[in-house]
């Protein structure tokens, strides 16, 4: 073989090698081969989830529950004398409810709930089986009626959000003092005497015990705004109609009521 022939062969082989290498580079990679460095970054999530927040201290929180099944309230969890028999409906035709105070177990491990009750004597509490009550509900409002100053003040989370002058019971039919709760809300009834809106409470007149439906004390409007403030009622707390309408927007049922 001449040197020229050898040289051509070397060049041919070299050219074939370059072409082959180029072909290898251009040949599509099998689908299973990894492709590194080509992945896009993660998309931005649609939600901006805040940091977990612990429950605040809740000094102004009150809890209430509906009476789901007729039940006997007792002096102690699972024991003691009967304090009251509770129905599932109020005389207003609404669901009956109680203000929850605390809970405890009896000797057999059953849960009982101590609740403020809408019975005489005012201020009565009793223990109800947990199963007689519905789900717990909470409010952060509190209505305080001052009989001396003849004012009603509503607070939410401890801050005053409403205030009004009120009419209260005459000396012979005093508005009862104590700790109660708002039990119902009545609207669109036909009675100008009670104004446009009335709240039912768990307070009862200790004097007018033969009053229809038990002599419950209400917080309501009036057809005699000229008498407010003053000792004018049979025990109910009356306020001007514009005030009771405003209170109706601010105060949920279940709100604790203090009359002092």
């Amino acid at each position: 073989m001449s040197s020229v022939t050898v040289g051509r062969t070397v060049i041919t082989l070299a050219a074939a090698g370059v072409l082959g290498f180029a072909a290898l580079l251009l040949w599509p990679a099998p689908e299973s081969a990894p492709r590194l460095g080509g992945l896009p970054g993660p998309p931005t999530p649609a939600l901006d989830v805040p940091a977990p927040a612990s429950l605040e201290r809740e000094p102004h929180l009150a809890m209430w529950a509906v009476v789901e099944h007729p039940a006997t309230a007792r002096e102690a969890p699972g024991a003691g004398a009967a304090v009251a028999r509770l129905r599932t409906r109020t005389p207003d035709g609404t669901d009956n409810l109680v203000l929850v105070q605390r809970r405890a177990r009896d000797g057999r491990g059953r849960v009982w709930v101590e609740a403020r009750l809408p019975v005489l004597p005012n201020g009565t509490t009793g223990w109800l089986p947990r199963g007689a009550l519905g789900g717990y509900r909470i409010v952060r409002t509190h209505l305080v009626v001052d009989l001396t100053r003849r004012t009603a003040t509503l607070t939410r989370r401890g801050r005053r959000v409403f205030g009004a002058r009120v009419g209260v019971g005459l000396p012979q039919w005093p508005t009862p003092r104590g700790r109660f709760y708002i039990r119902s809300k009545l609207v669109r009834y036909r009675s100008s005497f009670y104004g446009p809106l009335a709240f039912g409470t768990s307070a009862r007149s200790a004097v007018l015990t033969d009053w229809p439906d038990g002599g419950f004390v209400g917080v309501h409007g009036t057809d005699r705004p000229d008498l407010i403030p003053g000792p004018i009622s049979h025990g109910c707390i009356r306020m001007r109609n514009s005030d009771i309408v405003r209170l109706g927007r601010l105060m949920p049922v279940g709100t604790p009521l203090t009359i002092r």
């Binding site: 998309p43 977990p52 519905g134 717990y136 509900r137 009545l186 009670y194 209400g218 049979h234």
Partner: protein, 224 residues
């Protein structure tokens, strides 16, 4: 006993089936009930939000409802102060996370967000064992729900959010299973659940209730 009687609540066996599949408890040892208006709540017909498809809004609202359920459950458990030890700690930590999820969904949905239903947890927040059983089932259910809906989300940003929450719910599920004394992970492959399946399970618990009737129209009979 009311607060522990999951058995009496097992209406259609749906949740029991979920729990059984999770290996947590046998059939008949779970929750129950009727969802009241919640079927409608879970079947949202939201209009498209500005940057979201109607389908995504619907799915996000569905997730929000499940987050309401979980957040309310843990919050009530913390308020009742009936739990002890690690269960009490877990309720506190997981509750804070679930409340954050609720806030996130409400923020992104804005005016399209569904409202919080009323709940009656029927004593399960007041008993250590009942709490843990329910927590395991809730967390497993949430994981299955997110898994079921994630592939249906149309926006990548919504999918990213769902996946971010899904893994957190899975951690919660493992945590609650550990506390309850069952294996956190026994299967190699988890199955999703459809919205219909999840809704049926939630319906069966009776935990979501209607609002009490506290407003009436009778003429007052107060002393006046």
């Amino acid at each position: 006993m009311h607060e522990l009687s999951f058995d009496r609540l097992d209406v259609d066996g749906a949740l029991a089936d979920a729990a059984e599949r999770a290996g947590v408890m046998s059939r008949g040892t779970f929750l129950a009930g009727a969802l009241g208006g919640t079927a409608a709540l879970l079947g949202f017909a939201a209009e498209p939000a500005a940057a979201q498809s109607a389908r995504d809004v619907s799915i996000l609202n569905y997730a929000l409802t499940l987050e309401y359920l979980q957040a309310s459950f843990y919050t009530e458990a913390e308020r009742m102060k009936a739990l002890r030890g690690r269960a009490a700690e877990a309720a506190e930590v997981v509750g804070a996370v679930e409340r954050a999820h609720v806030k996130a969904f409400r923020d992104v949905l804005g005016g399209k967000a569904v409202g919080r239903p009323s709940f009656d947890f029927q004593g399960t927040t007041e008993d250590q064992n009942a709490f843990l059983k329910t927590a395991v089932a809730f967390e497993d259910l949430a994981v299955e729900a997110y898994k079921g809906q994630a592939p249906r989300l149309q926006a990548n940003s919504a999918l990213a959010a769902a996946l971010a929450i899904h893994s957190v719910e899975a951690r919660h599920a493992a945590w609650m299973r550990y506390l309850f004394g069952v294996e956190p992970a026994t299967r190699a492959f988890d199955q999703p659940r459809s919205k219909q399946q999840i809704t049926r399970v939630v319906n069966s618990t009776n935990f979501i209730t209607g609002s009490p009737s506290t407003e009436g129209r009778r003429t007052p009979s107060y002393t006046g």
